[in-house]
Subunit: 248 residues, 2 copies
Amino acid sequence: MNLILLHPRELTNQHVTLTGRRAEHIRKILRATVGDTLRVGMLGGLLGTGCIREMAGNTVLLEVQLTSEPPPLPPTDLILAVPRPIMLKRVLAQAASMGVSRIFLVNANRVEKSFFSSTLIQSNDFTEPLCLGLEQAMDTRLPEISVHPRFRPFVEDFLPGLLRDCPIRLLAHPEGDRTIAQAAEGLLGQPDQRAILAIGPEGGWVDFEVQRFKEQGFMPFSLGARILRVDTAVPALLGQLSLLRQIP
Amino acid sequence: MNLILLHPRELTNQHVTLTGRRAEHIRKILRATVGDTLRVGMLGGLLGTGCIREMAGNTVLLEVQLTSEPPPLPPTDLILAVPRPIMLKRVLAQAASMGVSRIFLVNANRVEKSFFSSTLIQSNDFTEPLCLGLEQAMDTRLPEISVHPRFRPFVEDFLPGLLRDCPIRLLAHPEGDRTIAQAAEGLLGQPDQRAILAIGPEGGWVDFEVQRFKEQGFMPFSLGARILRVDTAVPALLGQLSLLRQIP
C-alpha cells in the first residue's frame, strides 16, 4: 500500500477518520504516529498528503490536502476472457496498477461455466482487487469494468460502438502471423492513441471467436512459441503497449 | 500444464512411467486414454511427443519421441532482490515461462531478513516453481539460479566476471532519469544481445545499492510514476526487453 485511498464520501472538512485495513496499515506497517504525513489519494480524483492528527484505538484521523494529478492513464482497453476467480482478482489488480481505461470480462468457448457464478463476478463489484492495484501504483482512477456473459452479442452488438475511436485492435492468439510490434505499429510514438487488447482463456480463443474478432478489425498477433498464463501475459502485453507508445 | 516435462533419469528405452501430478493431469485434466499422443519435453533437452501405451491405477506409460528444439531462450539475466516466499515462487514461474538464462536472488537493505530463511531459499532447490513455468510455456530449459545473501560481495566480486559479455545493464529504479527504451537502446533489433536486469525489493533499492550498481555500469531507468509489484514488474519488463529485441 504505497497510497492510502480515500472515498469522496469519507471526507468532511478536509478530514477523514480511517478504521480497518487502512488504519491497521498506518499503525502496523508504516508505524506512523501523530504529526506524520502520508501519501493519500481520492478515488477518482487527486493525490495529496494526509497528516495524522489523532490516533486512538483502531482509528486514525487524517487532515487531507489534495494537490496533484495521478499518473497519466494509458488509453488502453482490455478484453479478458474470464479466468478462474483467484486469477481474476490478481489480474484486475495488475491491470489497475499498470493503468487501463476499461476492462471487459467476456465469456468464451474455453471459459469454464462455473467462473461466471463466482462470488466476485456475481457481486459485480470489483472495487477491492482494483483498489489493491491502485494503492500499489499510486493511482486513483478505477478502470470501468463490465461483465459480458454472452460472447456473440458482446462482439457483434456491443463492440462496434466502442471501436469507433480505436484503430489499434489487437487479438492475442498463438496462431497469429504477426508480432505485437507489427500489429500495433500505429502506436509507435503515439502516447494518446487508443488501443484495445483481447486476451483469451487458458487454451486460447476458438476459431469462431477469432473470426468474429477479425470481422471487427482485430489483428491477431502471436507472443511467440511460449504460452503464458494470464497473470504473466497481461503485464507483459500492457508493458509492451506502453513501450511502443514511448518509442519515437 | 501445456507440456509433460520428463527428467533424463526417467527415460528407459524411449519409455517413461509417470505417477503423481503428471499422471493425474493426464487422466483427470487431459482425460487422455491409451493410444493418445501428448506433448512432452525432456528437461534441458528436446520437445516431442509421448504416446500413451498403458494406463493402470495411478500410473501412465508413455512411449517418447523427442524431435524438436524448445523455443529460443532470450539472453537475459535477472537480478532479483528476494521477495516474500509466495511471491518468489510466482515470479520464478513467470520468469521461467517467459525465458531467462540466469536468476540471481540477492539480498538488499529493504529485503526482510526472514525471507532468506524461507523453506524455498534454504532448500536451494527451485525446480518446482521453475518447472511450473516451463510446463506452461512449453520450454525445457531451467534458468540457472543462485542465491547471494550478501549484497556487496555479489555486486563487487561476483558481478564483474559476469558482465564482461553483457553491455546492456539495467537497474529498475523509480528515480532513474531514463525510460527503459533509452537505457536499453542497444537492444533494438538485436535478438542475440545479452542484457541483465536488476529489480529491487518492495520500497526499492537504497542509495548505497544504486551507487554500487552504477559503478558496475548499470543504467537506472524508471518505469514511470507507477510503482509495480514484483509479479507485475517482472513480466512487464521482460516483455519490454523482448519487444525491443524485435524492433528493427
